[in-house]
Amino acid sequence: MNELNYNKDLETDILAAMRKPGKAYWFALGFTSSLFLMGLILWAYQIKTGMGAAGKNNPVGWAAYITSFVFWVGIAHSGTLISAVLFLFRAKFRSSFNRSAEAMTIFAIMTAGLFPLIHLGRVWFFYWLMPYPNQRMLWVNFKSPLIWDVFAVTTYFIVSLIFFYVGMIPDFAIVRRNVSGMRKWVYGAFSLGWTGTAVQWRHYAALYMFLAAFATPLVVSVHSVVSWDFAMSIVPGWHTTIFAPYFVAGAIFSGTAMVITLVVPMRKIIRLEKYITPGHFESIAKILLFTSLIVTYSYVVELFSAWYSGNEIELEVFRYRMTGDYCVIYWFMIFCNVLIPLTLFVPALRRNIKYLFAISLLVNAGMWCERFIIIVTSLARDHDPYTWGIYKPTIVDAGIVIGSFGLFFTLFLLFVKLLPVLSMTEKKEAVE
């Protein structure tokens, strides 16, 4: 196979994926968008009746919504990691995943961004969380980690979006060349007059490098800031210095798993087996294994510092996690995030795509549970034993969380059909 043929096949295959969708696609899209619609209806219901429609109560003021917020922000992490960090490290296998990972990042932040709004008691005043000039001189409280969150997440979203878009400009030009009519005009507009001249390439490479370097610290900062929502408080089980690295590792772990979850079916459905090989999967499985070990280490350190502190209140929270009302979720989390990924030490399993897909689903579930355990059990066993209580989700909590998955997958399905799913230019570059 010579290079020219490969490039031609690549373009044909990728562009084939952007053709008119079949029945299965429409069915999938219908399914995910109805989940999203259900979530929206339940949200409207919750706004109308009050936050009590969800299952939260007095000790547990944050539950499924904030869990999902942290979960989706976490998912958003791998996009930048795979794109920017691996780009800087010149890891070639990244070109198989980077476009999907970046798209996943954008959609995950969009989904995540909804949850702070959903969980607000008076969502119609959400704009009070933004600093904007007003004649009453009312500003936001910059001491509040929630405000840091607003900044961190919006910054990350904007930078990721630009990174995503800049990376696609040469591909837009390829698409423009291959389509006609209205679509040609739209893709043309997005390609910003890309002609592939050497000057353009030089500028492009510089900008891309700059953006990658700029986005890399954000991988660390965003989830650190999110973790400070918890670490800055004095709630036992939250107030610990390990939270920032712990959350970042967890975020990369869950994000990597989500990339696998998305890419495996995508590769199958739009026939990209040629371009995304088991070798690529093996590389990403190594990242999964590595981050799993960090997460495991964090679990151990968290327990150790609780024990070492000698603080009875802190210890009680950890005892409660392991033996209390939510212990099944805790041990499921340990199974998914600690035990199962250890099997990836076996090289054959790393190359087994079905196995990887199954693991990735478990890790996703495990990481959602991890956030749930951190948030809910800490609040449920707070300082004053009189106020101890448990949270039970209602149909509204559950429906909105499921709806968020609906939104995410709907967006991803739209991406698959509207944008080139692999970076054709980078794939070509990676061949030699």
Binding site: G50, N58, G61, L120, G121, H383, D384, P385, Y386
Partner: protein, 932 residues
Amino acid sequence: MNRREFIKTTGILTGAAFISSCKGKEDGQGILPGIAGVSDGIPGQPVLYNTTCTECPANCGVSVKVINGCAVKLEGIPGHPINDGALCARGQASLTRLYQPGNNRIEGPLAKDAKGNSAHVTWDEAFGRINQKLKEFSAKGLKNVFLSGRTTGSFSEMIKLFCEKTGVERLPEFEVYSHSTIRHANKMLFGRYEIPAYKIEQSDFLLTFGSDILETFISPVHYSQQLVNAKKQDNFKWCHAEPHVSLTGARADRRVVINPGSEPYLLTFLLKTVKPKTAGLPAEFLNALPDLSVEQVCGKTGITPGALEYLSNCFETAERPLVITGGVSVSQPSGLQAAVLTGLLQWHIGAIDYTVSFAEAENYANTGTILNVKKLSQRLADGGIGVMFVCGVEMPPYALSADFYFNISKAGLSVGLTELKDDFSSGYDYNLSVAHAFETWGDAVPSNGLVTVIQPAVQRIHDSMSEGDILSALMRKSGVTDVPVDFHDFLLKQWKEKYGDAAVEEITSKGYLKTAVETVKTEINADSVKKFLTELKLSEPMQKPSIIITPSVRTYVGRSSILSLLSEIPDPLTAVSYGEWISISEKDAKTNGMIDGMEALIPGIFEKSGSEPVKIQPGLADGIYMIEKDAFFRMRLRNRIPAMLKYDEITGEILWNLNLVKSKIIASGKQMSLPVLSGSFSEHGRGIASGHGPKPHKTRDASMYPPHEHKDYRWAMAIDLKLCSGCSACVAACYIENNIPVAGKEEHLKGREMSWLRIEPFYDEKGNVKFIPMMCQQCDSAPCEPVCPVYATYHTPEGLNAQIYNRCVGTRYCSNNCPYKVRRFNWFKHDSEKPLDKMRNPGVSVRTSGMMEKCTFCIQRIRTAHDVAKDENRKIRDNEVLPACAQTCPMKAIAFGNILDKNSQVYKRASSSRAYRVFEELGTGPAVYYLS
């Protein structure tokens, strides 16, 4: 006319037109609702009316705060001889009785038609028909009768007059707590069928048997206040002996658990061993008592020799001891023996006419017992009753008097003078709507030497009349002319006649009048004592297991259970809010494999599945099952089992303690929904209520932020936990003062109560309980403040953690970060049912869905005090401003004030060696100090 002149002229003309059109309405009606007889109501300014609380027979003095024609808050009258400013939870909540939603209150006179449906009639129709029936039945030779609940003072005279003029037979009145055993014993010993006044504050050792003096016994607020005064003596001791667990026992210096029904053994032992400081009982009486060894007493009563020795020592050292027996200790077969032996002991230790005063005896003169009701029931069954008036009687049906309940329909005509609908009211042929005490004139004589006024504070809400007016109208309509035109007229005549013209002004402004009492020299009736002693055979203690049906601090005997606020406030001992439950001991629960909320069956009593949940009660003796009276009635009603309670045939006391022969509690295995608001009864070594928590780190002062500067005021609170009895009066006061919504059972089950202030019970391993009132601690370094993204949590210059409701977006971060978890989120919009919305305090904003709220130290009161102080160009004085909780506390446990003022009460308490702050080790710097 130039331009300037045109404008001038137009301006003058327009102004003149406006001014001339400003005048009052022709019909004299203002915008605000007027108050009968009151013209000094300034809009927005509170007007206080001193009147009397009628929620229970104690008749505390209460001042009704009326703003814009609506009663918004009740507070005890300062200096009142009964309650001196304090009020219990029931008293606080009784305001909601006035504003009960329409479907609970009777909105106008109702008559039953032939089909048994109630329909509104006019007063004239009702009176005409009743008068006609009165005559008709008299002519037939049937008896017309008048049965009422306990009445005192002028209304009692009115009933007398009515009965005389219309030939109606007045029956002995019925009150569930008739204390007839005590009265019977006093009659036997001293020839007085009375309940004496117990002067607790004059004693230095108090021994109480079963009498729940802090909950429902005779005058709980009065006794609480007396206890506070008594505790000011260093050597005051109080021991409470009881078979179950009560707030009273929890607060006593020492609680002694005795077997139910074994009180006579202990009393006999004490009579034999206590050496009196005065003359004491003659030796012949003492010798006639059976000799008991320490082992025998301990064996029968179940108390330890150590406890017995403690009691002996206390009597030894005490100069002025006092013994009170009542409540559960007299409502059992051995009750009369216990009461008589108590009387003898009171005489023996010289308490009679000193700490036990018949001169100021409680007024139960017209009160009969359940036996009178039984007689009436028989007469009804025999068909001998014509018109039967029932006025202010509450008899929870089935459990007490199922036969009476069913026999009401056998009266020729039954007429109920009814305020709120109850189980009985549906059975009456006529329901005449009675006005609430705050809408009418009246008076009460709770005890000898005291008369208190009942006066209208608000305009009547419904088409109702006072009981006195109904009787006088009935008389006049029947053609009797030589009676006062209305009850107010009658009342004035009575007051002038009894207390002189000058007293009228005093009684209406102050709310009460102290009258002279005769000194009483009590004599012991030697013959009846001898007769009693020769016949005395100490009755055996009750077998276990036993059910003890207890009084309830929240619902009294059940009459207050209609006030939903009292169900919203959890029972302080169990932290259960709504519903009924059976309290069992930890061991009983273990042997039956039961946990909180598991359904219990008791063969013979609660057999049907779906009956009652259990609650484990630490400190409860094994084999004792506790049920609150009100809960017991409701359980019985639901199970539709007729009465099974027995009565003492001699005294007429209801025997509330049930022996379960060969029957015990069984777990059905089903879990029921029981709203237990406490997450744990143990403080897990965190020192919340005991003060023995971890010590704060020394380096805690290091902070990123500069310390708060407080210029003139730093508001703080100091709560003496040795005084707090857990009575929850503060909680009720807080709810009403701050417009806190009632969330309901379903929300409580989800853990979403709205109380800003709560009583947390914490038990130790021995089952002793400590209560701690928990409200916003107004921390100096408040964890809630920095986390709010929109600055809705704000630190005021006076040290309060203010919550700006309209800035709150509802992230709930502040609540998560609050270690005390005292912040409350509005999960829904809570609308109060009309006309309950009338009692909203206009000084406190009403919160809506999605925002956080919490205790403010009653900032509205602080603001008012600031305004007054500023007008007078001075600082706020100590005790000038009190939050609702501190104001109402019967034990005066809560001190509030400016901690920067070194002379303030709060500063003095906070600098006591007993003072500690909850979770001080967190460095939050709370402004609430607790004294362990």
